[in-house]
């Protein structure tokens, strides 16, 4: 029997992946966690019915979330990964011998458990002796750090739901403090194609600009994410990702990658005009203005993160949302192959991440209005 995993990317667009079987399924305090086996993408992990990674295309996202920093920052030794309980970002990081310590702060222990048991890379990543895993809220963790890290990876689930806090100005500001004076932060930002999602991207981008002197967006193609097209943020205190790219030095490290390379690095920062327009980037002059340098006068003593102190007494699930429950645990719809146009909709109704059921719509993204005005590229 063919089982189809379905994720609604907008109310009018769905991605269906044929799954052979379900490997793992559990409801944690925070979210529903599932792993499926599929012919096209290998195993894939979903949280609350949204694809987080697949074994086949996951290299794109995770390479782009890690290597660009190493090609720019000269001496990355201490790294913080916020989120990323699936272990793949860590897997990329441990390939650098220069990295001495990797702190991973994941809210949901069950994600780590599921990944270690069933996904490639995860077990070896978490077994590396340089890796310390903290199960706690990333926002609280980062707040307690001062000038500790060379590089922070914000590998979050998305701007709505459990990972919401990782897109806020207060979190990014705390990351600024947690970084050393030449630190770099890479964060996923979302899809720039569907309007509602682009709204989130633009908002995150402008918040980031208020926190860091250098904020640049870059892109990659991720087949299983909404619209297949993804934006990332390069937030930095000192180094510009294009001007300060040290291609030769990175190549000499000899890391073998499947997606990332240094010419692509440069290209990734060259964005389509509709995105530049939306993010307020002048294409010829990509440096940002409007940054008010933050005259931080910090007298507090250096605080080292300790999970014992940091873990709140008790935590009750935040708005947990499982769009798939009604759909046979995420596998739904034996469906007919034909009849669906692959052409993008004529009018973009501008909604991203919309779960299949109406009532829950709001948890994910503001309900779409009729306007389809936006910056969809001409078809």
């Amino acid at each position: 029997m063919a089982l189809w995993f379905t994720e609604a990317h907008t109310p009018d667009v769905r991605l269906c992946i044929r799954a052979e079987r379900q490997i793992f399924s559990a409801e944690s305090r925070y979210q529903r966690i599932e792993i499926f086996q599929s012919p096209q993408f290998g195993r894939f992990l979903t949280l609350d019915g949204l694809v987080m990674l697949t074994e086949r295309d996951g290299f794109i996202y995770h390479e782009m979330m890690t290597h660009p920093a190493f090609a720019v920052g000269p001496d990355i030794r201490h790294v913080l990964v916020v989120g990323g309980g699936d272990g793949w970002a860590v897997h990329e990081l441990i390939r650098y011998n220069g990295v001495e310590r990797i702190d991973v702060v994941e809210l949901d222990e069950m994600v780590v458990h599921a990944a270690r048991g069933h996904l490639m890379h995860a077990a070896s990543a978490f077994d590396d002796s340089r890796v310390r895993l903290f199960i706690q809220d990333g926002v609280a963790f980062v707040r307690r750090c001062r000038g500790e890290y060379d590089f922070i990876v914000v590998d979050s689930t998305g701007p709505v739901g459990p990972g919401e806090g990782l897109f806020t100005r207060e979190f990014l500001g705390c990351c600024f403090s947690a970084l050393k004076e030449d630190g770099i932060l890479l964060s996923q930002m979302g899809s720039p194609y569907y309007e509602k999602s682009m709204d989130f991207v633009a908002r995150t981008f402008s918040r980031a600009k208020k926190c860091f002197p250098i904020v640049r967006a870059y892109q990659a193609h991720v087949p299983t994410y909404p619209s297949g097209y993804w934006l990332f943020g390069f937030l930095s205190k000192k180094y510009d990702p294009v001007r300060d790219l040290q291609a030769g030095r990175w190549q000499s490290i000899g890391i073998k990658t499947r997606y990332y390379n240094t010419p692509l690095h440069l290209g990734a920062f060259a964005l389509p005009s509709y995105i530049n327009a939306r993010l307020g980037i002048a294409p010829d002059m990509p440096r940002e203005e409007g940054f008010a340098p933050t005259q931080a006068k910090r007298s507090e003593k250096f605080t080292t993160p300790r999970d014992e102190e940091a873990t709140p007494a008790q935590e009750v699930p935040d708005e947990v949302f499982s769009p798939c429950e009604k759909q046979n645990d995420g596998i739904s719809q034996k469906r007919n192959e034909q009849g669906e146009s692959t052409a993008p909709p004529e009018q973009n109704r501008g909604e991203d991440f919309v779960p299949p059921s109406d009532e829950q719509e709001e948890d994910f993204a503001p309900t779409q209005d009729e306007q389809g005005e936006d910056h969809v590229p001409p078809l």
Binding site: V139, R143, T168, R169, E170, C174, D318
Partner: protein, 483 residues
């Protein structure tokens, strides 16, 4: 009628919705059909129970069936002799307490830091305020609770007083020794009225300060819509065993609408059920969230977070640990400035900011995730905006000089004068900062330099000043001719 699982009003509405009675009565939107845009905005379900009094739904002004039953359930849940469902906010409950207790010329003992609804009641009924000495914490810039000694002193000075009104807890969570206040007041034949707008949870949580009814007070105004989870504007008036509920009902009906909203009434009914059944767990959780936030904010440094440490046995007899009040003067910012930065830069709305403090309302609907955001934002505000303390006004509590009763002053011949030039006059109106809605100046009080400075400072810092006829708060109505 003691099964707290029941919701008589909500159940009656539900039955009626299914009965599909043809409506030839008000409201004219007729279950929403007459106003499609509104129906879309609020939802069909909501409009379909926006009904008017009719036999199956009882009548708020004269309850004999479902409203009576719902009120009886609420009374049982709150340990009161009687509970009145109010649809005019806690303002109406506070006013009903005073109007059913005091007549023109009667004296009411009260602290000066009351909500403006109390002053409004004095204007309406002509009672005269006798202020107990109100002590302040000059470091935090807030008024404290009522000390038993100060109450005794007021009673000695005015043995003919009719009642004492206590604010318990204050907005900031400060509690007075209610049991002792009740004992002394009753011994002298005074009624005890409690403005318990911020204390709904006292009736249900564990380890919280004593509630008014448990302390033996005669009446209490309880904002169900604040910590209780009902709809905005719904409230409860509770009465004890020695109060005649029929008289109170008549007083309520003097000013209450004859078309009480069933949305509000049903929300009271359902919120009461939830509190009765789950209140203990809910407020344990609220307290934990507040405790966690308190600890974390203390760790940031610079901020002073209100806590049980304030308790001193007299003016702070107890402290409500669900309240998260933070003094911001230590980072060189006025509370109202932090309030604005939180909203403008961090998309976080707190309950209010006054001159020295912000208050974040932690409730039944909060999540740890959002508490983390608040703490982080405060940490960032300190990092980015901290400045030397100079230039911030430290508030000192100055006892008012009451020249006329609020009613006399409010209805006197008046003249509008620029606030800066009002020194020495007698005010004919109220000036307050909202929230918290505690008057800086009441009708009948002498306008002094420090009061003018406080008003100007609050205006400059961006507090929302209300109460005056002049919406720009540039002019003040004062009693003509001077006194």
């Amino acid at each position: 009628m003691t099964d707290q699982n029941q919701t008589p009003i909500a159940t009656a509405l539900e039955l009626l919705r299914h009965a599909r009675i043809v409506p030839f009565d008000v409201p004219g939107h007729k279950r929403g059909r007459g106003n499609r845009e509104l129906t879309e905005f609020l939802g069909k379900r909501c409009l379909s129970v926006d009904l008017n009094s009719m036999k199956p739904l009882d009548n708020l002004t004269h309850p004999v069936s479902v409203i009576r039953d719902a009120e009886a359930l609420a009374a049982a849940a709150f340990g009161a002799q009687h509970a009145f469902f109010m649809v005019g906010g806690t303002t109406s409950a506070v006013q009903a307490m005073i109007l059913s207790t005091c007549r023109r010329g009667d004296k009411l003992i009260l602290p000066r830091n009351v909500h403006s609804s109390v002053i409004g009641a004095l204007i309406l009924c002509g009672a005269e305020p006798v202020y107990v000495k109100t002590r302040a914490d000059s470091r935090l810039g807030i008024a404290l609770g009522m000390a038993v000694e100060d109450l005794k002193d007021a009673i000695t000075r005015h043995p003919e007083a009719k009642a004492v009104l206590v604010n318990n807890p204050t907005y900031y969570g400060i509690c007075s020794d209610l049991r002792e206040i009740v004992r002394i007041a009753h011994r002298h034949g005074l009624r005890v009225l409690v403005d318990e707008a911020h204390g709904t949870h006292f009736y249900f949580g564990e380890g919280l300060p004593v509630s008014a009814m448990a302390a033996g007070a005669d009446m209490a105004a309880v904002s169900m819509h604040k910590s209780g989870g009902s709809l905005t504007q719904s409230s409860l008036l509770l009465t004890g065993p020695d109060v005649n509920p029929r008289h109170v009902r008549q007083v309520i009906n003097l000013t209450q609408t004859t078309s009480g909203s069933y949305l509000l009434l049903a929300s009271l009914d359902i919120a009461r059920k939830n509190l009765a059944l789950n209140g203990r767990a809910v407020f344990r959780r609220v307290k934990e969230l507040a405790e966690y936030a308190r600890r974390e904010i203390e760790q940031i440094g610079g901020y002073a977070v209100f806590s049980k440490d304030l308790v001193n046995g007299t003016t702070v007899y107890d402290f409500d640990e669900t309240k998260l009040s933070v003094n911001t003067l230590g980072i060189g910012l006025a509370g109202i400035e932090v309030y604005d930065i939180l909203r403008d830069d961090y998309e976080i709305q707190v309950e209010f900011g006054d001159i020295g403090n912000i208050l974040a309302y932690i409730s039944i609907g909060d999540t740890m995730k959002n508490v983390e955001r608040l703490v982080s934002a405060l940490s960032e505000i300190r990092r980015l905006h901290q400045r030397p303390k100079a230039g911030l006004l430290e508030t000192e509590y100055i006892p008012p000089e009451v020249v006329l009763s609020p009613q006399e002053a409010f209805y006197a011949e008046k003249a509008a004068v620029p606030i800066e030039k009002a020194g020495g006059t007698v005010s004919a109106e109220t000036v307050m900062s909202y929230p918290p809605g505690i008057p800086i100046l009441c009708p009948g009080e002498r306008v002094t330099r420090p009061i003018i400075e406080t008003i100007l400072y609050a205006r400059e810092k961006g507090c929302l000043l209300t109460g005056t006829e002049d919406l720009t708060v540039s002019y003040l109505n004062v009693v003509k001719g001077g006194l």
